[in-house]
């Protein structure tokens, strides 16, 4: 996926919106910036299919040598698909964070949260500020 066409949450999740069978589905992953900041990943737990989530809900955990971080849902809806091999191939997250490193797909129940997401340029700027 092209990172420049994705939307971003301030907690560093990326979102790609698509129409699937008449409903909006968000593919969610972790930005390259966040993966780079985490480093030394050792453990990840995926969300559960069927899980109902709201924007800001912790949907899973990702753990590095140093600390545990939460992944937050950027949208409201139901988890319909998860990237099952990901916890056993954590290197995918750093090698292809915007593609093979996707985490889950969420079928939107509403538009809630979408207005809070940033475009690529705005997100880049936020990351630069955070890095300083």
């Amino acid at each position: 996926m092209n990172p420049e066409t994705l939307l971003y949450a301030k907690t560093h999740e990326w979102v790609s919106l698509a129409e699937e069978g008449g409903s909006k589905v968000a593919t969610v992953g972790i930005s390259a910036f966040a993966v780079e900041a985490l480093t030394d990943l050792v453990f990840m737990e995926l969300p559960k299919v069927g899980q109902q989530v709201k924007p800001g809900d912790s949907i899973c955990e990702i753990e590095s040598v140093k600390a545990v971080s939460d992944l937050y849902s950027p949208v409201e809806g139901e988890v319909v698909e998860i990237n099952e091999p990901l916890p056993d191939t954590l290197e995918t997250l750093s090698e292809d964070p915007f593609g093979a490193g996707w985490v889950c797909k969420i079928k939107l129940a509403s538009e809630t949260g979408l207005d809070k997401l940033m475009d690529y340029a705005t997100y880049q700027k936020a990351c630069e500020e955070e890095a300083h």
Binding site: A37, T39, D40, V42, F43, E61, E63, S64, V65, K66, A67, V68, E130, A131
Partner: protein, 375 residues
């Protein structure tokens, strides 16, 4: 991300920032938690050499004829009989035996130092406790002909640790570092600058620590860095310092040590000398009843999910303790932790479990240290 605006800077701060150091607030200091990968920095220290800026540690110097007597009354370890060049690990306790800090005490021979106003002793204390310890000592030195001086900002402290540490540092010194024994120190010149050099560290590896004037820190650091880089060594941040010390079973103040824990619970009996002397907290330690308080143990776990500070330790469904430090161990490639548990479940091999954010995972009591370097 935390702002590092109002934090103290070590003389090496700008070097860290220019070399990819991720600067974080550590006890009021802006310090590098890592440059790139904690695992790589950890492994470089175990297999080659790791270079650490530990200038945030508090460095105190002592002057006056009664210094030995003064420190002997403050520290759990016998100080009065220390010979020049000796270094001892000890605790400072309050009257209840609670640990104020864990410290290294260095005995120096005034005549062997070329710097002006040489101290007879140094003490290195934790950054987080520096002001507390300084106040504690200054309040009590009035009864002795002794004076405490804070050298933290006028000096820097650099550690080189790992199997190559000694041979990489030796060519820079005026002394023969290879013949300096473990836990011994020497006042010498490093690159021509007056320094204190000691064969000590906090990683479980052989190595040395250098106390140098603040203005010479960058030169010494860069020379060491250049030398170890040729041999797979690298600069190491506080993240790997923590995983290294944890594998080495070394306690960290604020985790395994606090004012609510006494040295005996912490398993630091070797650093407590009770006979024929008096020090603050001695009476409390003499009457401390064995078996009454939780004790420090090592826990080994399977899988990849690490127990962290604060996780409850259980025997069956029953809470029996709390994890104080835990990480995924780069050396053993499994989670390791230290915890305080009830003495009844502290025996090696006892099967316990740790509650990691709602999930209970099995853990086994194992001996500390987890890691011991080959002799």
């Amino acid at each position: 991300m935390p702002t590092t605006a109002n934090l103290a800077h070590t003389p090496l701060h700008d070097w860290h920032a220019a070399h990819g150091g991720r600067m974080v607030d550590f006890a009021g200091w802006s310090m590098p938690v890592q440059y790139a990968s904690i695992v790589d920095e950890h492994n470089a220290t175990r297999t080659a050499a790791g270079l650490f800026d530990i200038s945030h540690m508090g460095r105190l110097a002592f002057h006056g004829p009664d210094t030995a007597k003064f420190l002997d009354a403050m520290v759990t370890r016998r100080i009065a009989d220390m010979k020049p060049g000796q270094i001892r690990y000890g605790l400072m306790c309050n009257a209840d035996g609670g640990i104020l800090d864990d410290v290294l005490v260095y005995r120096w021979d005034g005549e062997l130092q070329s710097m002006p106003n040489p101290p007879s002793f140094h003490m290195v204390v934790n950054a987080s406790n520096r002001q507390k310890i300084l106040d504690w000592l200054v309040d009590r030195q009035v009864e002795f002909a002794a004076r405490t001086e804070d050298l933290t900002h006028s000096t820097a402290m650099i550690a080189l640790q790992g199997p190559l540490a000694i041979e990489k540092t030796d060519p820079l010194c005026d002394c023969e570092l290879t013949s300096l024994r473990y836990y011994r120190g020497i006042a010498t010149r490093v690159l021509g600058h007056d320094c204190y050099l000691s064969r000590t560290g906090y990683t479980g590896e052989d190595g040395c620590e250098i106390i140098c004037p603040a203005e010479n820190a960058v030169e010494i650091w860069e020379t060491l860095h250049e030398s170890i880089e040729e041999s797979e060594g690298m600069a190491v941040g506080l993240g790997a310092r923590d995983t290294l010390r944890l594998e080495a079973g070394m306690p960290l103040y604020g985790h395994e040590l606090s004012e609510n824990i006494n040295p005996l619970q912490a398993g630091l009996d070797f650093a407590v000398n009770l006979p024929d002397r008096d020090f603050i907290g001695r009476d409390a330690l003499v009457s401390a009843t064995e078996g009454a308080r939780p004790v420090r143990v090592g826990l080994q776990m399977d899988g990849r999910r690490a127990a962290r500070d604060g996780c409850p330790v259980l025997e069956g469904d029953k809470p029996v303790g709390t994890v104080t430090s835990g990480t995924y161990s780069p050396t053993f490639e499994r989670p390791l932790a230290m915890a305080y548990v009830k003495p009844a479940v502290s025996a090696i091999g006892t099967p316990l479990s740790v509650d990691i954010r709602g999930t209970q995972l099995p853990a086994t009591v194992v001996p500390l240290p987890f890691y011991q370097r080959g002799k």
